[in-house]
Symmetry: C2
Subunit: 112 residues, 2 copies
């Protein structure tokens, strides 16, 4: 099936998972996957959270930011891919003046 | 963790899953996910196959092609997302003169 983000209603969340500012998502969800385009707005973040029973794969479409992981940080620039494996924690941060736009998948694995 | 496709050795497959021509992939794989960049070369295809116990999410980075699904076809153009849910079949076709490059995730769900 086609996931057409242009036809999915955007939802904007303030302090998403305890982060700063606001995040807008367009998501297709079934029992196995959350498939989404997410925009972390300027000076905003997705707060520190754990992926239990699922994981997250993030591919940067536009903008520049960083991911905070256990033990460090990873840069996010267009074309870069971040993987939060099952059981791990992360936070996505946009400290800049432009939107950080990512394509992301959260698959359910159910093995935790 | 960062999945840096620039540091992942490309592998080229002829007649990938029974398709035409050749496909080049760069993949990071663990027990839960296959995370990859795949290039379907001109006049090439990934053959018709089923996703059993896993699914596949495809995001088009560049090039133009199509996905054959049960009951029809879906266009693939940059920014478009195709979802092959668990249990479904599909084939990815590039009938054109330019590479079709996609970011794709194959998560294991294990519920079949």
């Amino acid at each position: 099936m086609q996931v057409d983000f242009d036809s999915i209603q955007p939802e904007t969340f303030e302090h998403f998972k305890g982060g700063e500012g606001s995040v807008t998502t367009q998501a297709y969800v079934d029992g196995n996957n959350r498939i989404m385009k997410a925009t972390v707005h300027p000076h905003s973040s997705i707060g520190w959270h754990q992926h239990s029973g699922n994981s997250e794969i993030v591919y940067v479409l536009s903008g520049v930011g960083k991911v905070v992981v256990e033990g460090g940080e990873e840069p996010l620039v267009p074309g870069m891919c971040h993987y939060c494996a099952e059981g791990q924690f992360h936070s996505v941060v946009n400290p800049n003046e432009e939107d950080l736009v990512v394509f992301a998948v959260v698959p359910q694995h159910g093995s935790l």
